[in-house]
């Protein structure tokens, strides 16, 4: 049964939240500028609470069950994060308050900048970008600014692996680069020979995700970076898969010049049904001056008895502002809380158990499903959602059937280089029992694919709604649920 829209449960004249009458004299509204009709709903508070409660019950969520989406790192979102974000001393501060009145906020942001530097092995961090793609855009702009400052304006190409997430080529194109695709080899690494061919002084850099979107650690990462640096390019690290590297390896140590972090993946801030995220950017020493800003700096050193005085400042050759105010402070707070609860040893334990969980699932499934890259994976792995002897069954069917087993499907049809890809990332917060149940479900579904394929084709069966007509949605394009003419 579909839940009506908020407009459908409106009733003319019904009032929700009330406000006091004005305690000041009224001033006339400006002539000719007053709005005559305001087509907003008219519902009671209980109407609203019930409506959105019903809607929430139609959702799958991490709180409700396993969400093994590859490269999304759907780990548990700690509730303490929510409490801390709501402390009035944090939540009720205005972004333009004088620095002396928000030293708590600035100190916290400074500390997170320092934590991310330490975790990544990079020289400086900006917390301003709002999401991963925003961080990528920032990073690519930094690369361009660096090359321009060094008179290297002929570097017009950006190399992007064919396994890359779509934001990588989209970001490069946004910044005016010509995107050149680099193929992968049979072990799932970047094809070194192909890369060598592509390296020249027209290359601005390479965007590299490590571990890559196949869940594999780039086996020749040092050679790859040497090749790019050797022809004068810079290497951008897409930090989406950092969960596998916490305390295990630092991108800065390996030689990455710039990277972004996804606080809503690696650092547990909640996904919220599509954001907000947060995508801080870290850079190596030679790029420090190009970071966006303003960022938090120490304006006056502290002493034994006194905390330092923090303030905001623009880097010397900054690419400029990429967002209003200072970044997603609410997510910065949550990530800071998270890292504080783990410490150095805890960071490594996160990576170890994320990788352990993924390899455990791989071991349980690789006899049933074809895994194209046969080696120890990192925090995620990709398998094919097809069977030679069960034609007509595709990754999509398997994904939809998993919903009947009360699991959210893994990522499907990405990365593009694997046929009928199913990308699975359990994360470290799932226990062994859940993993066993998940593996069991997938094995059962593989059996069903052979014996009762129709069950898969018509799946899901137990969800609030069945498969939806996406062609109709795109053709008829109904994007709004109420029109003034209907009044």
């Amino acid at each position: 049964m579909a839940e009506p829209t908020i407009y459908e449960i409106s009733s003319e004249g019904r009032i929700g939240v009330r406000f006091p009458e004005p305690d000041v004299p009224r001033t006339d509204l400006p002539a000719g500028l007053e709005r005559t009709t305001l087509p907003l709903p008219e519902v009671s508070e209980l109407d609203v609470v019930r409506h959105f409660t019903h809607l929430s019950q139609l959702n799958f969520s991490i709180d409700g069950g396993l969400y093994p989406l590859g490269s999304c790192t759907m780990k548990y979102n700690p509730k303490i994060n929510e409490d801390i974000a709501r402390l009035p001393g944090f939540a009720f501060t205005h972004p333009l308050q004088p620095a002396e009145t928000v030293q708590g906020n600035l100190a916290l942001m400074y500390e997170l900048q320092e934590y991310l530097k330490e975790i990544s092995g990079l020289a400086a961090v900006s917390l301003q970008p709002a999401a991963g793609a925003h961080g990528e855009f920032t990073g690519v702009m930094i690369i361009k600014a660096y090359h321009d400052a060094n008179g290297q304006t002929h570097r017009t190409k950006m190399l992007v692996p064919d396994s890359a997430h779509g934001t990588n080529p989209a970001t490069s194109a946004m910044r005016g680069y010509e995107v050149v695709s680099v193929p992968s080899d049979s072990r799932g690494n970047i094809d070194l020979a192909a890369l060598k061919e592509l390296c020249s002084d027209t290359v601005a850099g390479l965007m590299l995700t490590n571990p890559n979107t196949l869940g594999l650690f780039e086996e020749h990462v040092v050679e790859v970076l040497d090749l790019i640096h050797g022809c004068g390019g810079l290497v951008y690290g897409d930090g989406a898969n950092l969960n596998a590297l916490l305390g295990v390896a630092r991108p800065g140590d390996i030689g990455f010049d710039v990277m972004h972090f996804n606080l809503h993946k690696t650092f547990s801030t909640p996904h919220g049904g599509g954001g907000p995220g947060s995508g801080p950017v870290g850079v190596a020493e030679h790029l420090v001056d190009f970071l966006p800003g303003p960022n938090v700096v120490i304006a006056e050193e502290g002493s034994e008895d006194e905390a330092p005085l923090f303030d905001l400042a623009m880097p010397a050759q900054s690419i400029g502002r990429v967002k209003s105010f200072h970044g997603h402070f609410g997510m910065i707070l949550r990530a800071f809380t998270y890292i504080s609860m783990y410490g150095a040893e805890g960071m490594r334990q996160i990576a170890e158990h994320a990788v352990l969980n993924a390899n455990y699932l791989l071991a349980k499934l690789h006899k049933t499903y074809h895994v194209p890259y046969d080696r120890i994976c990192m925090h995620e792995f990709v398998m094919e959602g097809v069977f030679e002897d069960a034609p007509g069954v595709h990754a999509l069917d398997i994904a939809k059937r998993l919903m009947d087993y009360k699991f959210h499907p893994p990522t499907n049809y990405f990365p593009l280089i694997v046929h009928e890809a199913l990308m699975i990332e359990p994360t470290e917060t799932e226990n062994k029992q859940t993993l066993d149940q998940f593996a069991e479900a997938l094995i059962k579904i593989a059996e069903e694919a052979h014996t009762q394929p129709d069950l898969l084709h018509s799946a899901p069966h137990i969800t609030p709604i069945g498969r939806l007509d996406e062609v109709k949605a795109a053709k008829e394009l109904v994007l709004c649920c109420w029109y003034p003419e209907q009044d």
């Binding site: 996406e470 062609v471 949605a473 795109a474 053709k475």
Partner: protein, 129 residues
């Protein structure tokens, strides 16, 4: 897979019908089946515009993908089939009867560089599916 014998074909899956010095361009049965149900179509050029082989003629969108229609020849755009922008179902159901634009050739040799039906069929087979 429908591949009429009297047309020429580009590697980017456009078909070309030549009449004197004018080339009529559409997309092949293979292309429309790869895209599946088309939901939108948009021209990227205007009549009278000079265009180069390899440039973008139009964008066609389905729920799964968005593809550029690439000019298989160079020349001047003489006519756009405005009807296509409204009736794009025809692209899926009758790909060879639904044309997109007509180009007056600036270099007739461009046509010779295209594949014939047999070559295109082989090319499609090599790509699988």
């Amino acid at each position: 897979m429908n591949i009429p014998g009297d047309l020429k074909y580009a590697k980017t899956d456009e078909w070309v019908k030549v009449d004197g010095n004018v080339a009529t361009i559409g997309i092949t049965d293979y292309a429309q089946s790869q895209l599946s149900d088309i939901v939108y179509f948009e021209f990227k050029v205007d009549p009278g515009e000079s265009v180069k082989k390899g440039g973008t003629a139009a964008t066609v969108e389905s729920v799964k993908a968005a593809s550029d229609i690439i000019f298989p020849v160079s020349g001047k755009v003489v006519e756009l089939n405005d009807a296509v922008a409204d009736e794009f179902e025809g692209i899926n159901s009758k790909p060879y009867e639904t044309w997109f634009l007509k180009v007056e050739l600036s270099n007739p040799a461009d046509v010779d560089a295209l594949m014939d039906a047999a070559e295109y069929e082989k090319y499609c087979e090599e790509r699988g599916h």
